[in-house]
Symmetry: C2
Subunit: 271 residues, 2 copies
């Protein structure tokens, strides 16, 4: 038997998905609206104890239609495992559409209409799940959380909150003056500090586990596989693999924007 994410057939998510704003709210100059909105990953059945607020989806997510399944996803999955959270989580992004360009995200960080839709999701998730903690990935997600905290419903949230460096921070060319080793160590120190706050805040972990900090670099054991139950029905296992399988390609910016090449990793082909 395989497991799969049953999706958005139930309320309040059916109406949330049906009412997702399009380019009238998320302009095509700053968002890849052409690939459609990508809403979440994880539990929508009222069992989530931890809520991850990410930034925006990328190429892999545009194909698998769930967020945080690539490099960032496997890193944050490992972060959750250190808290004993193996399935009682849910994840949404600050933006349901992929951000286009370097400045698109910052330009819309305080956008009221985008925020209003995001607040509907945060309201629904916190109203229907016993959320012990919210973890924001990166500064845009942190801003989004604080915007929501300033709303009447957001102000009622009484769980823990931690803003951590985005899981792809070490891959950014500007992090730690371009020193990837130092950037990784900085991120993991930042994550360790967040774990110290979050570990006692998770009152009902899926697996009671002592807190083990990260070292200076990520080890294979610090990553976790995206669970089968997190992807839609029928998606092959290699879409949850450690290797990249989707990339934007093209000979011009326009063609790159219009194209995603899906290639099954060589060692995961059954032929």
């Amino acid at each position: 038997m395989t497991e799969f994410d049953p999706g958005y057939g139930q309320e309040p998510y059916a109406s949330l998905v049906a009412g997702c704003p399009g380019p009238e709210v998320n302009p095509a100059a700053d968002f890849r609206v052409e690939w459609g909105p990508i809403f979440h990953r994880g539990r929508l059945d009222g069992t989530a104890r931890l809520l991850v607020l990410g930034q925006d989806p990328a190429a892999h997510e545009a194909i698998a239609r769930r967020i945080l399944i690539g490099t960032a996803g496997r890193r944050i999955q490992g972060f959750l495992a250190k808290l004993g959270i193996t399935h009682s989580y849910t994840m949404i992004n600050t933006f349901v559409y992929s951000v286009y360009g370097q400045t698109g995200g910052n330009r819309h960080a305080h956008d009221p209409a985008i925020g209003a839709y995001r607040h509907r999701w945060l309201d629904a998730l916190t109203a229907t799940n016993p959320i012990d903690a919210v973890v924001a990935l990166g500064t845009l997600a942190d801003k989004a959380f604080h915007h929501w905290r300033a709303t009447p419903t957001g102000s009622q949230y009484s769980g823990a909150y931690q803003h951590i460096l985005h899981p792809t921070y070490p891959d950014s060319s500007t992090a730690a003056d371009g020193d990837p080793t130092a950037a990784m160590a900085a991120m993991l120190a930042n994550w360790n500090a967040a774990l110290d706050v979050l570990h006692p805040a998770i009152t009902h972990p899926d697996l009671v586990t002592p807190l083990v900090h990260y070292g200076d670099d990520l080890t294979p054991g610090d990553l976790a596989t995206i669970p089968e139950r997190d992807l839609p029905a029928g998606l092959p296992a290699w879409m949850r693999a450690d290797e990249a399988w989707a990339s934007r390609q093209g000979t011009s910016p326009v063609e790159r924007r219009a194209t995603i090449v899906v290639t099954i990793p060589t060692d995961l082909r059954p032929f």
Copy 2:
């Protein structure tokens, strides 16, 4: 508000999807198991009046995760429209995995284990929907229907049945001695004969409409758009477009098998 297919969260479909057999039943030599099973398109909520039995999914379907959305899908959608069926239909395929190679389908036409899984779907669909008619697309689907008819549950089906030429028959190089014009005319004559039987058999069409036969060639009015409500949440509208947007590419058969390139049609880009 947008519409979307809520998917497989409800029984009996949740268990059917979870229990889909893999390569142990569908060998990788004959099926593209690496792209995962693709189950259906249309209603799973008990409202289907017409059941389409297709053959197997292709590249577009592997990305959109619903069957019959490409050329064949738009042609059969137009066929349903001539019967006044605009939403009360459901479609499954003979094979849940794409057939690999010229002979893979025929080799497994009488496969008991593959048939047993298909019969579970046919049983579920006919038990929970008021099916007035079944339409099989092509000879493999026709064989599949008759296999099911020979089962205890299949023998109880009392609605109409028509086997029609597969909607991509005119595109086959061997049809009508390679004359595409003659092949199209032959297919449409075959479809007209089926419409004569099916039109009176549909007791509750979505739209009461007089039967208008096809001419010798397909007109734009003979095609119908794949409805928004047939695709999963968030998929962009161009995935239901008249233009092709997915293709298998690569410099070798192995690379072609491992690769699908998704390209948004030029005139459907919002950028």
